[in-house]
Structures are given as structure tokens and as C-alpha cells.
């Protein structure tokens, strides 16, 4: 397992707003024997046990229907595990009440294949939205929105609406929104799934920078090129169980 990124100490993570003491070591995600059966009877996860530490960059690979999206949905509280223990960023997701889910979400940034931007809002408004929700002050919102837009290279497109942007630019807006609230964890479900290879590399570059600044990243992907080029921890899922967990791993499938 990677020693360089895995054991990141809190004071090495300038972007994190956290109430942990300097020098603490934390596990970002801890799953034990997690199972998920959907109401229709499909068993999407069949006993997942895994630890992911603060600062790690993890690829989630596996064929369609393997359970990657389900794994991700359980992490941000979109689905509830049917059995097992799940702890994410200090929240106990199994014993958590529904009304605590918003608090969990504020610690996690989420990015999807389909961007999920609001078409009627400008780029600026789409990002500011995430900060309004947590009742940030207007002054801080203005400052932070421009900061994250700068970080994803879209400062000059703040007044555009999503339809006026390319797919890659839209995904960058989504990433800006996801990191606006200083999340400890960024999860991305096939963030490059709708993008051409060149654009995908741009997105990967941004994700790497975010990770370098200390945010843990979990990314489900089908891109053999990316996984085999930017070598990171690879967790392979098949039929709802982890079949491989490899530091600086390969994609391992013919794509």
C-alpha cells in the first residue's frame, strides 16, 4: 500500500477545514462486510470490507453492473447499506438519522458523469449554490467561488451558462462546485465517461491537483488509459465483492 500518500497528516492538508487536531491520522472511509440488496432483490454489494485513508487517490474499476455506483452511493448517503458497518469522514452511516445526511454531504464533494449543473444558472451561480446552502456569507461566497473557478481554469467564464460551455468545461464547473465547501473527500462516478480523451486528461490533471492539496479522491472509471498512466491505488469490484486491491495498480481488464 502506498506509504507516500496514505499517511497524510492533517497539517499537510491546507485546504481542509477540520476540527481534528494537528498530527491526527484518520481513516476517511471504513467499510466492514457491507451488503446492499435493492428493493427489487438485486444484490449489488455482497460483503465489502475496505479502509481508505485521508489523502488517498483510489480508482474503482469493474465491469458495468459490478456495483461501483452502488458503492459510491452508499458513501454519500444516497443509498443505505442493507448490512455491515460504514463510516465516512467521521460519520456513522448505519446509525445515522436521515436528517444528518446534509451534514455528511457538506463534508463530501460529488461529481457525476452527467455533470448535474442547473441549466438556468450561470457558472458562477451553479458554484455559489453549494455555498448558499451551507449559509456562507456573501463576501466569503464571492471570494471562494472565484477561487475555485480559478483553480479549474474557468475564471473568465463565470457569466456563461452551462449550454455555452464544452463538456469538459461543464465537468470543471461541477468539480469547482464539489470542492467549494472544502470537502475532505471527493467522489467521482465516471467523471470522464462523457468526455473525449484530451478533455479527460485535463479533468485528471485537476483531480490530481486537488488530491495533491490533500483531498481524498475516489473515482469510478472505465478508462484503461487513465488508470494505467496515472498509477494509483486500484480497487476492482466484481459481482459486488472486491476482487483486487492494489497499490499503483493496473486497470486489469480489456476495455
Amino acid at each position: 500500500m502506498s506509504k507516500d500518500v496514505k499517511k497524510t497528516r492533517i497539517f499537510d492538508v491546507p485546504l481542509l477545514k477540520t476540527n481534528l487536531d494537528k498530527g491526527d491520522w484518520i481513516t476517511m472511509i471504513k467499510m466492514k462486510d457491507v451488503k446492499k440488496t435493492y428493493p427489487n432483490g438485486v444484490q449489488a454489494l455482497n460483503g465489502i470490507t475496505i479502509d481508505i485513508d485521508l489523502g488517498e487517490f483510489v480508482y474503482l474499476v469493474g465491469q458495468s453492473g459490478a456495483g461501483k455506483s452502488t458503492f459510491i452511493k452508499i458513501i454519500f448517503g444516497d443509498e443505505k447499506a442493507s448490512a455491515g458497518d460504514v463510516k465516512v469522514a467521521g460519520h456513522d452511516l448505519v446509525n445515522m438519522k436521515r436528517k444528518e445526511i446534509p451534514m455528511l454531504r457538506r463534508d463530501i464533494g460529488v461529481v457525476f458523469q452527467d455533470f448535474k449543473l442547473l441549466p438556468t444558472m450561470t457558472v458562477y451561480e451553479n458554484v455559489a449554490f453549494a455555498l448558499e446552502v451551507v449559509e456562507e456569507t456573501p463576501k466569503n461566497i464571492r471570494k471562494r467561488v472565484m477561487e475555485v473557478l480559478d483553480q479549474v481554469g474557468l475564471k473568465n467564464k463565470a457569466r456563461f451558462i452551462p449550454d455555452e460551455l464544452s463538456g469538459g468545461e461543464q465537468q470543471r464547473v461541477a468539480i469547482a462546485r464539489a470542492i467549494a465547501n472544502y470537502p475532505k473527500l471527493l467522489i467521482a462516478d465516471e467523471p470522464t465517461g462523457n468526455l473525449d480523451p484530451d478533455t479527460s486528461w485535463e479533468i485528471m490533471k485537476i483531480l490530481e491537483e486537488i488530491n495533491a492539496a490533500g483531498t481524498t479522491i475516489i473515482m469510478a472509471t472505465h478508462s484503461k488509459e487513465i488508470v494505467n498512466t496515472i498509477k494509483r491505488r486500484v480497487i476492482a469490484i466484481d459481482g459486488g465483492i472486491i476482487v483486487r486491491d492494489q497499490h499503483r495498480g493496473d486497470y486489469g481488464y480489456e476495455s
Binding site: 454519500f76 436528517k99 446534509p102 451534514m103 460529488v110 446552502v133
Partner: protein, 297 residues
Amino acid sequence: MRARTFKRHIREGFKNTWRNSWMTLASIGAVTTTLILVGAFLVLLLNINHIAENLEEDVEIKVLVDLTANEEETIAVGEAIERLDNIQSVTFSTKEEELERLMSGLGDEGDVFGLIDQENPLNDAYVVKLVDPTETVNVAEEIATFDHVEDVNFGEDFVQNLFDFNAYARNIGLVLIVALVFTAIFLISNTIKITIFARRKEIEIMQLVGATKWFIRWPFFVEGLLLGFLGSLVPIGFIVGGYYYLEQNIVAVNQFDFVTLIPFAPFVWQVSGIVVMIGVVIGVWGSVMSVRKFLKI
């Protein structure tokens, strides 16, 4: 909630109302239609009630004393009546007074009958008013059993029918108003549901970035409030204008003094207040109900 957030919810509520203008118009239309009906029913119902109460107040029992009864016996009848429960007033009326009243009621025609020239055929009478007029039938029946009472007279059928009708009118009116209000809530919640369906992406994203349930709900609350208020404006115009017209014209043609409408002020303003309140309740309820379905957390 912070003042800033409160302002934001109000701003968002107004913005959404404006942005979804077609749905806003449809919702306002639904509220307006309902409130016009509710308002009309309310005015009708309250006036029926008012007229009914007037009529009830006019209901009196006339107790005819035996022609053979002497003065003491006549007084005894009056005292016996006064001892009953529920008596508001007992007025004695001599046979001469009764004749006079009858004649003036008949007007000039009284002379034609030549009543004046004949011996007075009428009885001495007590006119009894009750505190609770709905007890008229029972009290009259009891008085009829007293000694030296020849007959009691209270327009039996009319009184019973009046009380039955009043009770019906009140109940049916209430049921209709409640049914109308629920229909409106259903209409609004469906109309708003369509707009929310279009906005479910917005709700989904808000939840994704950690918005609480109430943070999402508040703008819809404001929107419902606004829709209810806007929807009540036209109905209030109808009520005020319509009632003014009605009052002017009914008063002009009114020959029956028991058909008096409730005076214009403050009645119309009270009804308008009730209509706004119902509108706001309908709007808020419909709006908040319709957003519930899309709140996953």
C-alpha cells in the same frame, strides 16, 4: 435561521413564482376559481343564517285564553307561563287590542267585514317569546295543557320547517366549503407538482451539496403563500363589488322586512379576510405537500 437565509428564501420564492409564470398563472387560476365559489358560498351561508336568526326571533307563541275565563283565571294563565323555563317575555293583549291589530293588518278591508259593528269574537291572549326559539314546539305543547287555555298558535308547520331548513342550510354549506377547499388544495398541489417536476433536478442538486429539508422547502412555502395571496385578489374584488351591488338592489326592491342582508361593513371585510386566509392555507399546503415527494432525505 439567519436573517440572510430568510431573505434568500423569500427572494427565491418570488423568483420561482416569476420564473414559472405559466404554472403560477395556472395555480392562481385554481385558487381564484375556488375562492370565488368559497366566497359566494360564505356570503350566501352567512346571510341565510342571518335571515334565519331574524325569523327565529320573530317566532312567537300566541296563547288564547278561554272566553269563559274570569280575570283571576286569566292572570293565573300568565303567571303559569312565566314560571316556565326559557321564557324571554310574556305580553298580555286584551281582546280589544287583538281586534285592533287584526283590523290594522287587514287595512281598509277590515271595514268591509264590518267587524267594528259586531260583538268582538276574539279571545284575550298572551304573546310569548322564548330565549331559545328552537324550543317553540315543545313549549307551545306544554302551555296548551294549562287550564283555561283554549288554544296555542305559533304557525306550527312554518316554524318546524324553518328550523329544519336552517339546520340543513348550515350543514350543507359547511360541507360544501370544506369540499371546495380540499379540491383547491388538490388542484394547487398538482399544478405545483408539475413545476417541481421540472425543478426536481434543482432539488436533487441542493440535496447533493448538503441542503437541509427546510432549506429546500422554505422557498416553496413562500411561493405557496404568494400564490394563495394573489389568487385571493380577484375573488375579493368579486365579493366586495358583488355584495355592494346586491345590497343596493335588494334594499331597493325589498318589501319583506324579514329579508334584510347583513350590513356591508364590516361584513365584506371580514369575509375578505377569511378568503385571503383560506387562499394562503390552500397555497402553502398545496406547495409544501407537492415538494415532499421529491425530498429524498
